[in-house]
Symmetry: C2
Subunit: 431 residues, 2 copies
Amino acid sequence: MDIKAEAAKMKLAAPELAAASIEKRNKALDLIAKALEENKEEVFAANKIDLENADKNNIAAAIKKRLKYDEVKMRDSIAGLKQLEGLVDPVGKVLLSRELDEGLVLQRISVPIGVIGVIFEARPDAMVQVASLCIKSGNCAILKGGKETANTNKVLFEIIKKSAIEAGLPEGCLLQAEQHNEIDELLACDQDVDLLIPRGSNNFVRYIMEHTKIPVMGHSSGICHIYVDEKADQELAVPVVVDAKIQYPAACNAVETVLVNRAIAEEFLPKLAKGLDEAGVKLCGTKEAADIVVAKTGLNVEIMQEDAFAKEYNDLIISLKVVSDVKEAVKHINYFGSHHTDCIITEDNASAAYFTQMVDSAGVYQNVSTRFADGFRYGFGAEVGISTGKLHARGPVGLDGLVTYKYTLKGNGQIVGDYATGKKQFHHKDI
Amino acid sequence: MDIKAEAAKMKLAAPELAAASIEKRNKALDLIAKALEENKEEVFAANKIDLENADKNNIAAAIKKRLKYDEVKMRDSIAGLKQLEGLVDPVGKVLLSRELDEGLVLQRISVPIGVIGVIFEARPDAMVQVASLCIKSGNCAILKGGKETANTNKVLFEIIKKSAIEAGLPEGCLLQAEQHNEIDELLACDQDVDLLIPRGSNNFVRYIMEHTKIPVMGHSSGICHIYVDEKADQELAVPVVVDAKIQYPAACNAVETVLVNRAIAEEFLPKLAKGLDEAGVKLCGTKEAADIVVAKTGLNVEIMQEDAFAKEYNDLIISLKVVSDVKEAVKHINYFGSHHTDCIITEDNASAAYFTQMVDSAGVYQNVSTRFADGFRYGFGAEVGISTGKLHARGPVGLDGLVTYKYTLKGNGQIVGDYATGKKQFHHKDI
């Protein structure tokens, strides 16, 4: 497929999808849910081929688990579609309404971004989720899923596209890229693709970010920290750190590093080390932290060098470091962190305020697990991803991150010359 | 200067400026205004050197006019500083406040972006304007002005930086790049610079956009259109088009192309051509448009090829084309335009609604001059620039475009495990 030519066609078709009523867009979601149910045997048969191929290629068990698309996962997909249907339309909101002068009215109105390219991991449920988010927000989408689910994705995409067209959405609103080399073609479409959302491994996301001029929304790594302050409630701190590490260690919002205030290190680090060890977490740390833990608990701590703090484990491993105060903690986090989500454990309002103000991350927490950084938990409904960029959208991104705005100005012949010469004056009344 | 090292230092210092109170930031603006007044002879002496150098280098008169920084322009700078001081603080706004569960409170709070690089044209007033916008919004700034004003900029920058530090802002909040080769060094600082704002010629802005991984806010070209519909008020249309072309032809929001509905072309084009000709505008057009104008008025129209419609004149030249309906007009605009500002002249609500919905531009107007696309005219106070990108900020960008947000989450030991197992439920109450 000639991705460049298809993207150019899509760009010109995008305003048509943007103009589609919310009834049509919701109808599409409804038809997709029904069609999934009606064609489930075909979907499962395609998924069986993907799973057999995974066996042939000796794919790891953890990845195979994600490839599998069964009755339970389809239930989740259908429930997700129903939930999305119920969410408020993000398009057409009047964000500003201002009379610049008599009869001269400015409005700022939310509109879809246009053409979005999404490159996502080998999970069939991601295909349904991503396509439905783009439909709901009125965006044309070029979708490229992981090659390990090629057969399942092909069937799912056909179901989705057919349902969208049946609901009255324009023919050219969705496109599936199936070949790996088409990713590089997509990256070159900066004239026609307005936004890229890559999901997957750190290296993959970094590759995307470094090889395109299209704006990219997402995160390459999630190096999250918890700083345990001198005035921490230590009984609260241990379960929070353990949850942040073990509740889903491969998630980007799992904690990688715990910084402990020196004043409580001798008392707290052994308690924390025991809690983590019981949960099956391997301990790493600076020599100072390791010495304390080893002396008091006999547990094994691998001594690490300073630059290893920039590493995301994605696993049941954690880094420990002793710091002298909240200032040193903030400095460490802003230098080694990925500006994702970082937490302070303290009962002291001044330390908490300083930490919240100074840590330059999308999420800054006090006394709770970093695992809360998630669109569903924030109450945004569906989530497109988490952005560690600072422009447009930051943190968990819901439907609102898939829209932009345009300004409309209506008048009856007003010219700028009259205002430049002073013949007329603006009065700028919000209405 | 080692721009990369300086940018890295600035990145770590940025949270300190972000934490500076609005009183300190306003105080800095106040001190700059006073220091300009007190040191004006030094500023004017430096400007005299720039003007003498311009003479030696045979700089064009139009450009020399922009280099000149005199009593009148300093008055404007000082008035701008006073106005900016009066604007509401864009930092620290609570944009969302939600109780996720009892005792677990999420807030979205506006914060400065961090480190902004601004590369701007050779105008001393731009140095004052850009620096003061960054100070007001709590952003660290690396400033590079046009080389033709190097002497004036050096003095102005020293005044600004000294005043900022005197007001209590951190030492490292402002940096001036003076050498042209430092632009390329700045473009490579994607680890530490959060946003680049280039201002200047189309080619220059395009160069910046193509040679950096840092997000860029701005516009390379402004190809604005006016479509005169079958149901247009023709008496209104002529002065609107003339104003949009001549009120400031070098501005990005000046109109470049007028599309005229075929049903009124024979009647309207001659009237328009006369109006434009009287205003000193050179006419270009398709053969169809030219034939009509020549036959009815005898005025000269240079016949142009289709691909010439992608050109921005920045001058008293205009392109004319006959189209069959609003659909063809929209198609032309979305294909040849720069997604800046486009206008329909019509009394017909259906055509206006279609045009407003379908034109994919930052500004879509009805019955008014495209020259209204400007932050001051929109009532935003100071303007950083106009963005034709779709992410973060679109159209005229005021102080709000220089901030992002962070999420804060405060609790008392909540862990995600309890919600995952169903022991606790979110209730998501906006508070």
